[in-house]
């Protein structure tokens, strides 16, 4: 899958920018605050309809403009397709090949993407919420229907919380919300475990590829959804847990158990990475998780885009070179933003687009060339 062209209009602070991205590896480079990440965000938005930054409409639409627009020219297994997203202050329009679409299923079926940005080290070192979000995002990328499950589970949870806050919660009603929580929660846990099972092998392998030989890191889900491979079994376990927690839940007037409290454990060299990983180790672990997502997708027959934001000081030279070599083996297109492509080390010369972003304008320069045996040469690009 490849996004051959990207056009943004009145998007963030850019009046208009066009990216000629017909390459396997797209490197957006330029000084800070020139609009590189805006363009990467536009790609992510086409894939997920979410922003990975401030997502309020007033921030998405350029000041003074009536709407923001993002258009992507996609080349997938079904040939070329055109995706168009338009955002007005309080509405949104989606078009595929000019046809207005109302259901999200067909949209999400067009383009999948996996994102890495520097803040994602939170997945290793931050709150359990960041790790659950990672798992749910990975499950969504694998099977978009996961989104509805997460939304419905969250809504039932909120309803139950609201009921617990009432002075005398009706026991029949509480039992009803608990039953729904168990039904959806068991499904959620099983889907998460399925994603985890798919990630495990590729994760260890990708980690080894980045950091070199060493003990493989392990992933483990803790909580009611631990080792959830059978829906009925998890449902039984969850229902039992709820029954035991019921008096405490009523006393504290909040729901205290369920997959929304589960955590993903990362074991590195036999230790809990959440507490012991250095910044560098955390980066390598997160990159390996993301690479594993792409690999797991490949095994399912999908070829998602891999988007890497601000790949500048993330890794030391040796690891960066190994990462870039690894990126060259991925099934789908790779997008990178960086302040300086020299950081990335040798780039595959063929099928690489170097795009300079300056003042919101994107200009594609010539592909990097490397005289035999010599260092990589970047042709200067004039904007």
């Amino acid at each position: 899958m490849r996004l051959r062209g990207l056009t943004v209009t009145d998007w963030r602070n850019a009046a208009r920018a066009e990216v000629d991205a017909d390459a396997r590896l797209v490197v957006l480079h330029g000084e800070n605050a020139q609009g590189k990440t805006n363009l990467l965000e536009a790609v992510w938005l086409l894939a997920t309809l979410r922003s990975f930054r401030e997502g309020r409409a007033s921030r998405l639409i350029r000041e003074g403009a009536a709407e923001a627009r993002i258009t992507g020219e996609l080349l997938g297994q079904d040939g070329p397709r055109r995706l168009e997203w338009r955002r007005q202050p309080d509405s949104r329009e989606l078009r595929i090949d000019g046809q207005l679409i109302h259901q999200l299923g067909p949209w999400f079926a067009q383009l999948r993407a996996v994102l890495f940005c520097p803040e994602h080290t939170q997945i290793v070192r931050g709150d359990p919420e960041a790790r659950r979000a990672f798992l749910d995002r990975a499950a969504f990328t694998a099977r978009p229907a996961h989104l509805e499950l997460v939304t419905d589970y969250g809504r039932v949870l909120k309803q139950k919380a609201a009921l617990l806050r009432e002075r005398r919660a009706d026991p029949d009603q509480l039992a009803t919300w608990d039953a729904e929580l168990v039904r959806l929660g068991a499904k959620l846990a099983v889907r998460r475990q399925q994603v985890l099972d798919e990630l495990e092998g590729p994760f260890a392998e990708a980690h080894g590829a980045i950091v070199g030989a060493g003990p493989a890191p392990r992933l483990e889900l803790r909580g009611v959804g631990a080792a959830a491979r059978d829906e009925a079994e998890v449902a039984g376990r969850f229902a039992e847990l709820l029954a035991r927690a019921a008096p405490e839940e009523r006393r504290r007037a909040q729901p205290l158990c369920g997959p929304h409290r589960d955590d993903l454990l990362l074991h590195l060299e036999g230790r809990d990475a959440r507490r012991f990983a250095s910044q560098g180790q955390a980066r390598a672990l997160v990159l390996a998780l993301k690479l594993a997502e792409v690999e797991a997708a490949r095994r399912r027959g999908q070829r998602p885009l891999f988007l890497l934001d601000d790949l500048t000081s993330e890794l030391d030279r040796g690891r960066m070179e190994r990462l870039v070599r690894r990126l060259d083996t991925l099934p789908g297109q790779v997008w990178i933003t960086t302040t300086d492509p020299a950081w990335l080390g040798p780039l595959p010369g063929e099928d690489t687009a170097l795009v300079r972003v300056s003042g919101g304008v994107a200009t594609r320069g010539p592909a990097p060339s490397r005289p035999s045996g010599g260092p990589l040469v970047y042709e200067p690009t004039s904007a």
Binding site: Q103, G105, P144, A145, E148, D152, R155, V156, K158, Q159, K160, A162, L163, R165, E166, D170, D172, Q173, A175, T176, W177, A179, E180
Partner: protein, 197 residues
């Protein structure tokens, strides 16, 4: 204070209708202006009579011109089967099918603690009171969303112990939709509620 502008007033009042914005309201108002006065009079009368003469049926809780409503008064309907819906409009949808000859019950919404709606805010008590009158089956036709599903489950919890059959309206792929064009969640629902052949 300036004279109130009747056109402006009409536009503002029309734009309070659901789904009607100011531009549509203006279109309606100008259209009315161009019609003979009888058109506006008829419309005004219809609206006035609506709020003055409609009441609620004390049996099924539907809005009705008389109490009991004509469906509850109809002797040819099956007392044994009661279809529970969230809103009066939902009755029309089921009636249009021509397949249902039972009675109805309007719940007036769905359980949603977040919005302060519990069984006491709905017509659950009225429904339970009706069940001793020879009912065999309660068909719950609440919406297929989180609140509608929970409401259905809640009703089943209360009604099943009374020895009645409780069923849920099936949801899934729309008739006339080919499988390949059905949306994801409809197919997921249809798979979940597949039946034995």
């Amino acid at each position: 204070m300036s004279q109130p502008d009747p056109l402006r007033r009409c536009i503002v009042q029309l734009s309070r209708l659901p789904g009607v914005g100011e531009r549509t309201a203006a279109r309606y108002a100008y259209w009315l202006l161009r019609q003979p006065p009888a058109v506006a009079e008829e419309l005004g009368q219809a609206i006035l009579t609506l709020s003055a003469s409609m009441t609620r049926c004390s049996v099924c809780c539907d809005v009705a011109a008389q109490d009991p409503c004509r469906r509850c008064a109809d002797p040819d309907r099956d007392d044994g089967l009661i279809c529970v819906v969230e809103r009066p409009q939902d009755i029309t949808a089921i009636e249009r099918s021509g397949e249902f000859r039972g009675r109805f019950h309007v719940l007036d919404g769905a359980i949603s603690p977040m919005e302060g709606v519990g069984p006491d805010q709905l017509t659950v008590r009225q429904l339970l009171a009706r069940l001793s009158g020879g009912a065999r089956e309660v068909l719950v036709a609440t919406d297929p969303d989180v609140e509608g599903d929970a409401t259905a489950l809640y009703l089943a919890r209360l009604i099943k112990p009374l020895g009645l059959r409780v069923t849920r309206l099936a949801h899934g792929i729309a008739v006339g939709t080919e499988l390949e064009y059905a949306d994801r969640s409809s197919v997921a629902r249809a798979l979940e509620h597949r039946r034995e052949l």
